[in-house]
Amino acid sequence: MKTRAIILILSVLVGYTNKVFGNDNQYAEAMAKNIQTVYSSQSIAELQGAVNALERIASAEKTKWEPYYYAAFGDIMIAHREQEGTKKDAFLDQAIANIENAKKISAKESEIVALEGFVHIIRITVNPATRGQQYSGLAMQTLGRALSLNPENPRALALIAQTQYGTAQFLGSPTTEACATNAAALEKFATFKSENPLAPKWGKGMAEEVAGNCK
């Protein structure tokens, strides 16, 4: 489970292409720079710097959910790189706090709910044997909600496929269902469009990785 999660994180980045954002203003620039960092940096210090910057932006831009969203994403990346379980949990708690703030601004945003599902998945990696059951259930439930808010959200679907795949592997059962979900996720990635220039763009690489294992 642990190694799977690492593959998952690394492959988050493969599908991401760095675009120059349309609006040439302070917000878009600052966001672009920090989003780039949380997507690609390997260093905890850099990630923490970006998370801090995103939280600052969030404190100034009181109507935008994206700064909190990417701050939470950065927290998840830090949690993933931390070795110690209690520290991982502390950063995941911080991610949840940022997600809650984002939800206060945009309660029905599917992407935010999907990110919450991602947090549950990373929780499992702290101790798969004891946490697997509880958190995979929670993750599935949360991701299901994300999908009901926006059936076109490829990340929600890809994370569901990821959880199904992990569970199937853990139990040694067939991965047919996981692979089917994953194929559906890849289709959604191909057609995913958002009016929002800051919309999340990660996750395609992860789905491609699973698709590779499904062959």
Binding site: G49, A53, S59, A90, A129, Q134, G137, Q141
Partner: protein, 707 residues
């Protein structure tokens, strides 16, 4: 920054962020509130950033685990340099907690040494809460009872609480000398706190131990569960909506076919049959409120023949029917950011009819418990918890044998109030102090019992804690019914604990002294002339080691308890070790997941040194010891698909003929000696096979957590 070259006034703000002790804190977010301007501290705690802001600004420093710092500054053209001191917040993850006497099992808190799932998957426990907790230090195995006997205390001295409300009889009825099972299934609870002493002032009417169960909040998934058991079957359904859930379960068990197949020590007329229904309703109220309702209804019956000790062919029919209802309503809400309130009402009704030969005992007990608790923070370092409660119990017993008729009844009302404060000197040191005030209507007595515990963290992983408390519990029903003025029994606990937790490894050692006073005592064998002259004490040392890290997929723990206890109570002629107390108890529990065969395999070994028994043919009371008790149990959970589990368990693989004690005839035989016979296990082994199927929209869920 892009605009540094422009002609606006640029001010540089720089400095260091340090801990109270002067150590630098890296990663701190230092910024002017409401602006983009700020920076993060480096490894030396140094930060610097530029700003064009002018005038009054709020300089803010924020980092996980520290209190936010904010200071108003006036920015003109000068550069600023600051040293900012951050103080730690007292938070659940890092803060020291009181561990003396307490074992908590929870899926929510991540610092626990024992998880809810552990209860379900412990071999030998067959998903019984008490059975699993019996593998922890501080408990003594009493195989013929199945209840929790803690540190020289009788099974009755451990009380069970659900959402803070007392449960009057937490165990299902069982035939004499056969183990009983708890009424509540482990998967109902999100947290279990098992305290073997020194527990909170919130919990009264418990002399030795408090088992505190927190029921789950809203259900997570809509699902339907079926169970096909070798001894019956069950069906359950949970329906979940946005802000609530409702669940129900019906279980029917019938041991008749089973005891027909496997030879039993007990001469059953009708082996136990039980019909049980439970329901749980959850509704979130507004943003902060949660309402919970739980109901449990159980009807059970069995009958058996008791054989005479002197003459085996002389039999007496014993027939028992028990009707049980437990209803628990609970509401919790937060009053504001720092304070929360909760309240609950529980109602218990137990109607038990026991027929023994020609005599009939009809016992009706009704209990009502009303409680409210307010909890919150007085300040960053002081947590307060306070509440009031009323525990009312009405007891009626009718006894009839031939022409003889007896009625006993009493109505006891215990009114209580408690207050308790946690004072955090730092993340490393906490003191908990509290008191409990009680009034009992029957004795018209007020009492105040103090509690005190403290814990000190020795480093990142180790800590010591000590606890002291005075506890009281009303005498057993059988005594109050004959003498309503009999006073409560009392105990004082002194506990010292050391605990080390690192990387999924836990080491605990605990030592204690407990003294009993005002225990019920009566002369000879006649429990009519009662007094509170009984005394006793217990001391012991306990060690616990758990490791689920070192060997991949293996989780194991080892518990050892040493107990030295003596009492002079009931009809004891002098101080002696009671028959339920054993000197040495060892449990070794191991669980291993074998991926190849999709199975979790578990084994539990328990050892209990010989227990005292009294042979009336000898001159010294309770002097003799039974042979030691040993058991090796095994369980196997097989998960062929994600929605099906096949579960098999077997106790006593080695087939040891365990003897729990001896019973003797009350009348001497012709040669003046008393005949006796051993109390044995009802059968050498108990085999259990179950198939559990879960239907839900999301197929990756199965019942493993609930097994």
């Amino acid at each position: 920054m892009l605009m540094t070259l422009q002609s606006f006034a640029q001010v540089k703000i720089s400095g260091h962020v340090v801990e109270a002790g002067g150590d630098p804190i890296p990663g701190v977010n230092v910024f002017l509130a409401g602006t983009y301007d700020g920076g993060s501290t480096d490894v030396n705690g140094y930060f610097e950033f530029q700003t064009q802001a002018q005038g009054r600004s709020l300089l803010t420093a924020r980092f996980v685990g520290y209190k936010e710092f904010a200071q108003e500054i006036e920015i003109q053209s000068e550069n600023f340099e600051f040293t900012i001191k951050l103080t730690e917040t007292i938070n659940e993850l890092q803060a020291v907690t009181i561990t003396a006497g307490a074992f908590t099992a929870s899926d929510v808190s991540r610092r626990t040494v024992f998880r809810a799932l552990d209860i379900a998957t412990t071999a030998g426990a067959t998903a019984d809460i008490a059975g699993a907790l019996n593998t922890l230090p501080g408990t003594q195995k009493v195989g013929e009872s199945g209840r929790l006997f803690v540190r020289g205390g009788d099974g009755n001295e451990t009380r069970t609480f659900i959402d803070g409300l007392v449960v009057l009889d937490a165990y299902k009825p069982s035939a004499p000398n056969t183990p009983s099972r708890g009424r509540f299934l482990p998967f109902m609870f999100k947290g279990t706190s098992f305290s073997t002493g020194g527990y909170s002032a919130e919990y009264g009417q418990a002399l030795s131990s408090a088992l505190v169960l927190d029921s789950k909040d809203k259900g997570e998934l809509t699902r339907t569960d079926f169970g096909i058991l070798s001894v019956g079957g069950d069906v359950g359904h949970t329906q979940v909506w946005d802000h609530g859930s409702i669940g129900g379960k019906v279980q029917y068990t019938n041991l008749r076919p089973y005891v027909g197949l496997i030879n039993q020590e007990v001469d059953w007329e009708n082996a136990p049959v039980s019909l049980e229904a439970s329901t749980a309703f959850r509704q979130e109220v507004g943003k902060h409120g949660l309402f919970k309702f739980y109901g449990n209804f159980n009807l059970s019956n069995f009958s058996l023949y008791q054989h005479g000790i002197d003459d085996y062919n002389q039999t007496t029919l014993y027939d028992l029917t028990n009707k049980y209802q437990y209803l628990n309503g609970f509401y919790k809400t937060s009053l504001n950011k720092n304070w929360s309130a909760q309240g609950g009402i529980s109602f218990t009704s137990i109607d038990e009819k026991a027929l023994l030969g020609a005599s009939l005992i009809d016992e009706l007990q009704k209990g009502l418990h009303i409680k409210t608790v307010v909890a919150g923070s007085l300040s960053e370092n002081v947590e307060l918890r306070s509440g009031v409660e009323i525990i009312s119990r009405a007891y009626d017993q009718k006894f009839s044998a031939d022409a003889e008729r007896n009625f006993y009844s009493f109505h006891e009302i215990v009114s209580a109030a408690f207050v308790e404060a946690d004072l955090y000197a730092s993340n490393h040191f906490v003191v908990r102090t509290g008191a409990r005030l009680e009034h009992v209507n029957l004795t018209r007595q007020f009492s105040v019992d103090p509690r005190l515990s403290l814990a000190y963290k020795l480093g990142a992983d180790g800590q010591v804690s000590i606890a002291y408390g005075r506890f009281r519990q009303s005498a057993k029903d059988e005594f109050i019914k004959v003498d309503p003025l009999i006073d409560a029994e009392k105990a004082s606990h002194f506990i010292f604990n050391y605990q080390y937790v690192k990387n999924n490894k836990t080491f605990r050692v605990e030592t204690y002294y407990k003294s009993y006073s005002d225990l019920v005592k009566y002369p000879d064998a006649d429990p009519v002339k009662l007094s509170n002259d009984g005394t006793g004490d217990a001391k012991g040392l306990e060690v616990f080691w758990r490791d689920n890290e070192s060997i991949n997929r293996l989780d194991y723990w080892i518990s050892y308890s040493y107990l030295d206890t003596r009492r002079n109570y009931l009809n004891f002629p002098h101080r002696a070790t009671p028959s339920f107390a054993s000197k040495h108890n060892v449990s070794v529990v191991a669980k291993y997941f074998v991926q190849k065969i999709k199975s979790q395999i578990g084994a539990t070994y328990s050892f209990t040194s010989g227990r005292p028994y009294n042979d009336p043919n000898t001159s010294v009371f309770n002097q003799l010891r039974t042979p030691y008790y040993a058991d090796l149990s095994f369980n196997w959970s097989y998960l062929p698909t994600t929605s099906v589990i096949v579960y098999f368990s077997c106790t006593n693989l080695i087939g040891r003929d365990n003897i729990f004690g001896y019973e003797y005839s009350k009348i001497p035989s012709a040669d003046g000696s008393f005949n006796g016979r051993p109390i044995r296990q009802p059968a050498p082994r108990f085999l259990f096979l179950g198939i559990f199927i879960t239907l839900s929209r999301d197929k990756s869920v199965n019942q493993l957590p609930s097994l």
